[in-house]
């Protein structure tokens, strides 16, 4: 607690009078006490800090929201989606060629985008593959490298991403060092009339997207 030399008032009383009323202490260059300056700086800071931090929290909404209400307020699942997230495809087992040639299929689902809800719209595409009477394999067509689209190369008989030349064998295993991991295989369930049935011809796929550029598969 220092009082400037030129200030005749003793101790703190100068501060109190100055803050309380308009009777300023006589001073030209000499400053008020540190407390007085500190108080001024403090109030000046908080009047800007309050709106700025409120604004900052508002801006962080996309991060705060996930923790606050993950999955809350979701509508009932689309008619073709079960409670485990499996989506029924338009194609059936019979429509997938038995010679191992992959086919590209569009997946439909409901999209919730901020204030809108778009029912039954394309949400992505997958590659389906079947060898003989073997199981159906499904791969997300998004490249695990940086998110371009993986194509089927008939000449090479492999999967290939034109952006950064990621290449994968038809079973999804990566065949060069560009991608960080294999293609993202998706869970498949064969069903009849919506009931699990290994011999059924309905194809249900748990459609998911995964983080790109990581060796592990992390669902988004």
């Amino acid at each position: 607690m220092t009082v400037t030399d030129s200030n005749p008032a003793p101790g703190n009383s100068a501060d109190t009078t100055a803050a309380g009323c308009c009777h300023a202490a006589p001073s030209a260059t000499p400053r008020r006490s540190l407390l007085y300056q500190g108080l001024t700086a403090f109030i000046s800071t908080i009047i800007v800090a309050i709106p700025a931090s409120l604004g900052g929290l508002f801006f962080l909404d996309p991060i705060l929201r996930r923790q606050k209400s993950a999955g809350a307020g979701k509508a009932g699942p689309a008619a073709r989606k079960d409670e485990n997230g499996f989506i029924r495809l338009d194609v059936t087992r019979e429509a997938v060629p038995g010679d191992g040639t992959p086919v590209s299929v569009t997946v439909f689902d409901d999209i919730e985008d901020a204030w809108n809800r778009f029912p039954n719209v394309p949400v992505g595409s997958i590659w389906l593959r079947k060898v003989g009477d073997g199981p159906i394999l499904a791969f997300n067509s998004i490249c695990p490298h940086l998110g371009c689209s993986v194509n089927y190369r008939r000449a090479e008989n492999d999967f290939f991403c034109p952006c950064h030349t990621s290449a994968f064998a038809l079973d999804g295993k990566k065949s060069n060092e560009v991608p960080p991991r294999d293609m993202d295989a998706l869970e498949v369930a064969m069903r009849t009339a919506g009931k699990d049935d290994p011999a059924g011809s309905e194809i249900w796929v748990k459609f998911q997207n995964f983080r790109r550029a990581t060796p592990e598969r992390i669902p988004i």
């Binding site: 308009c22 007085y36 001024t40 709106p51 801006f59 909404d61």
Partner: protein
């Protein structure tokens, strides 16, 4: 730290700048009366911070503006607070600006050599008013839409170039996407940039001439820092506290999504423009034309303020006195007109009814937008257009309320009244309904009233002119076919059996019959007692009553009772009695509104107009029927209060 500051100072001269900014002398000491300019700068800073944040979530188009503001307000973290801060700081800015201007004139701060700064201040005032005007439209709600319509229409009253000015502001002949993109560009880009520029000039010139000292002998001279800064900061903190309190406890309003097809009778400008609104409503002003009231008069006022420095220069002290007198008179006028506008609105029943409807629509829109189905691609306005709870009352008021009532009112919460005769004053008389009150249509009470209280239930019909005419004809001995609540087979059955119906031995039978009739109406979500329904069904079809009533069944006249509607579809069908097949159900009601005169309904006794699809489209019929039968997602929004007790019984 010091080394870093030195390094920075060598290259930028930051110390000198800070010194100049902070160590200005305040002759006569720091004073509270000097804080207003600083609070204005502070509110502008708040607007910039909150404005940028809102920008990060706002989407300017007619199908996303309301929707994104809804999302900000009701879904986003602190969204309501950020929008509230922006909303109330804007109003604080206008208030503080008015105080600032008053003070400048009273203290003579406009006098030479500060004329230029006075004019710069006036430019800033125009920019701030422009910001508040453009911002009001951005949520694209009914309130902003219709209030801004008024403003752009006033623009069109500008002499010579009016139409062009309006088209430019709107981005076209009508309001649309481009109105929003242009208003948004003005509000978030052009006007703030101008404001920053002019504010810099304003502060620069202010510093050049220094403070206009009110009383140099008030106290010893002080420094801007920290003496005046502390007072300024405390004042800003007080402003922030007020604005934040309002934002928390009275969140900014979002009315229903803008719909050019839906009237908005509650349209008012933002409260600080109410004085101008009220001024324009004076008959004397109206008579002189919109250009006079909305452009010439405000122009003259601004002109008088602008030439104040010259007035003072020419007339000296008398000029300063005139200027101050003008400001006080202006302030008094603004206050009086504002109070008058508020007072009149509070006592204007029409305006209050419009406000009630606006709140109902707003609440419903928000409720629907929050539902799990969210907002469709065609926008929240489509949610309301497809909502029976919103559209039903409007359709009822438009098509039905000239004869029927809904809980005593016209469906939209307004009593139907006769016009006052020329020269009459006071409350206009309430118009008597001439058909049933449908507020409880197809409810248990409705069904019970038909069974045990038929004459009374339909007593309103007796107010109709066709009823009076028919009674006169009847008195003359002519034969007339008409619905007589007092004398018809049904009326006779009810009144003739009144005692038996009220006898304790039939109490449960009546309840059962009512439950059966109610179940026949199949109201969505209605919970019925199946055992009672079965019992009621046998009463209706077999007449298994107790006592004197035994053997009288509904089906001996209403032969299709208990069957789904339509029991018989061909026009010739019907046995002369109204069908009770699915009575009160949506299918029955749809058919009845289209063909009340069909043989299966009232036939030749009918007096209700048949609503063809040309008068009432299929879509509207569906909305009306769904509303009347309660077929819509329930609402927590308060409905219009019943006005049954305000209906007079007789003419």
């Amino acid at each position: 730290m010091n080394a870093l500051l030195n390094w920075l100072d060598d290259r930028t001269g930051v110390r000198k700048l800070l010194h100049e900014a902070l160590y200005e002398s305040v002759p006569g000491g720091a004073r509270w009366r000097y804080v207003w300019g600083s609070t204005l700068v502070f509110t502008f800073v708040v607007q910039v911070i909150t404005g940028f944040m809102l920008w990060s979530a706002y989407s300017p188009s007619t199908r996303t503006a309301w929707e994104s503001v809804f999302y900000i307000q009701y879904e986003m973290t602190l969204g309501s607070i950020i929008r509230g801060l922006h909303h109330y700081s804007a109003q604080a800015m206008v208030v503080l600006m008015a105080i600032h201007l008053m003070q400048v004139v009273i203290d003579g701060a406009y006098k030479a050599p500060r004329e230029i700064n006075f004019w710069l201040g006036m430019v800033l005032m125009m920019i701030v008013l422009g910001l508040s005007l453009t911002g009001y439209l951005l949520p694209w709600d009914q309130k902003g839409y219709y209030a801004t319509q008024v403003t752009t229409n006033i623009m069109s009253a500008t002499p010579v170039v009016g139409a062009e000015v309006q088209t430019l502001a709107q981005g076209g002949r009508d309001y649309g996407h481009l109105t929003l993109t242009r208003f948004f560009a003005m509000h978030a880009g052009i006007l703030p940039a101008l404001l920053v520029g002019f504010l810099a000039l304003h502060i620069y010139v202010f510093r050049r001439h220094g403070l206009t000292v009110h009383d140099p002998k008030h106290a010893a001279d002080a420094q801007f820092w920290p003496d005046q800064v502390l007072k300024d900061a405390v004042a800003c903190l007080a402003v922030l506290a007020v604005v934040l309190t309002l934002a928390i406890f009275r969140p900014a309003e979002l009315s229903a999504p803008a719909d050019p097809a839906v009237k908005f009778d509650a349209a008012r400008p933002e409260w600080y423009f109410l004085f101008l609104f009220r001024f324009l409503r004076f008959h004397a002003v109206e008579a002189l034309g919109l250009t006079f009231g909305a452009i010439i008069v405000p122009g003259i006022i601004m002109g008088i303020i602008a030439v104040m420095p010259l007035t003072e220069r020419i007339l000296g002290r008398a000029g300063h006195f005139l200027n101050r007198a003008f400001m006080w008179a202006l302030a008094a006028g603004v206050v009086v007109l504002t109070v008058l506008a508020f007072y009149e609105d509070a006592n204007d029943r029409g305006h209050q009814a419009a406000l009630a409807e606006a709140h109902r629509d707003a609440g419903r829109a928000i409720e629907l937008a929050k539902s799990p189905d969210r907002i469709p691609v065609d926008g929240a306005v489509a949610l309301l257009r497809r909502d029976p709870f919103t559209q039903g009352p409007r359709l009822f008021a438009q098509h039905c309320a000239s004869c029927h009532r809904w809980n005593g009112h016209d469906g939209r919460g307004t009593l139907v009244t006769d016009a006052l005769k020329p020269g009459e004053t006071g409350e206009p008389p309430v118009t008597l309904p001439t058909a049933a009150d449908l507020g409880n249509f197809a409810s248990r009470e409705w069904m019970k009233a038909i069974v045990v209280d038929y004459s009374n239930h339909f007593r309103w019909l007796k107010n109709a002119s066709w009823y009076t005419a028919a009674k006169e004809q009847e008195a003359k001995g002519e034969s007339v076919d008409f619905l007589n609540p007092d004398a018809s087979e049904m009326a006779d059955w009810t009144s003739g059996n009144a005692e038996a119906l009220k006898a304790p031995e039939n109490a449960e039978n009546v309840t059962a019959l009512v439950e059966f009739l109610f179940a026949e109406a199949a109201r969505p979500g209605a919970d019925v007692d199946e055992a009672l329904v079965a019992k009621g069904r046998s009463l209706a079809t077999e007449g298994s009553w107790a006592g004197a009533l035994n053997g009288t069944s509904c089906s001996s006249c209403h032969d299709t009772i208990g069957q789904p509607f339509p029991a018989q579809v061909d026009e010739s069908s019907g046995n002369g009695y109204p069908t009770m097949a699915g009575y009160g159900s949506a299918a029955w009601l749809r058919d009845f509104i289209r063909h009340p005169d069909a043989m299966r309904h009232y036939g030749s006794k009918n007096r209700m107009p048949a609503y063809s699809p040309e008068q009432l489209t299929d879509t509207d019929l569906e909305l009306l029927v769904r509303w009347m039968t309660g077929d819509y997602p329930g609402s927590a929004v308060a409905d219009y209060p019943s006005m049954l007790d305000r209906l007079p019984e007789k003419k």
